[in-house]
Symmetry: C2
Subunit: 155 residues, 2 copies
């Protein structure tokens, strides 16, 4: 079902994101994969990632949607060029806008599934729709407008 | 200019939010105050709260907007009833939806200012518009639809 995550191929200097950078030892290190025509990531919140006791913090849910959105944008861009992550040039996106609708409280103590659908890929912009599920039930949905990072951003 | 923060008056069992709970020792513990007709909070990100080196993580910015939005909703509800935080019954809001537009990269290493305007207060719903500024420049803006938590939510 899964190959390597797109975040495993982010250039080293762009791999320190608190949400999804594999080199940020304090962060969430989420990893986004293809699953057919959708993208998927999984994350189990820590006991202190709560809004109120027993329920996951909405800011964390927004973070998961955000990073899975930019990761999905990169995945989609490689596929659009019939290339695999790891081939050059690397794709790395930043978030232009983020929308999250909290549908019901998200229970703590289970692994969350974050799924993405690519709804638009045009030039340097990719729009994804994301769901967050717990125990098979969607608890939040989001939309991420991601924009490809300029090549010289860090230079 | 400031009195106590609204989060200082959240009921104890509702004070463990990762973003703004005064009793969550792992969390951000942001505090929302009135400043005239606007609300304000301040937060200095940790060195590891980055999206890419030198710039603040968007998920953290979403979290600050989220919690300052619910805090502002509570402040507005007290003021709407001509009561001070600390009087009963206590107001505590949850987020129904969150919109964030990232206008420009937010630099790391400075205190961020999060400001809120109340744009609608109707029944149990409060809508706020929030800005996040660094060095006096707005780097992100957001909108939070907050809904008053049911009194029996934890029972």
């Amino acid at each position: 079902m899964f190959s390597k995550a797109v975040q495993d191929f982010y250039p080293e200097e762009l791999s320190y994101c608190y949400g999804c950078g594999r080199l940020n030892e304090h962060g969430h290190q989420i990893k986004s994969y293809w699953d057919g025509d959708e993208t998927v990531a999984h994350f189990t919140p820590e006991p202190y990632h709560i809004a109120i006791p027993g329920y996951v913090y909405g800011g964390l849910i927004a973070s998961l949607i955000d990073c899975h959105g930019t990761g999905s944008a990169a995945l989609a861009s490689y596929r659009n060029e019939n290339r695999d992550p790891g081939t050059e040039p690397a794709f790395r996106f930043v978030t232009a806008s983020l929308q999250v609708d909290y549908l019901r409280p998200t229970p703590l103590g289970v692994e969350l599934e974050i799924r993405g659908k690519i709804v638009e890929l045009k030039g340097r912009k990719v729009i994804t729709e994301i769901t967050v599920s717990a125990n098979g039930e969607v608890t939040a949905k989001g939309k991420v407008v991601a924009v490809q990072m300029p090549e010289n951003f860090l230079k």
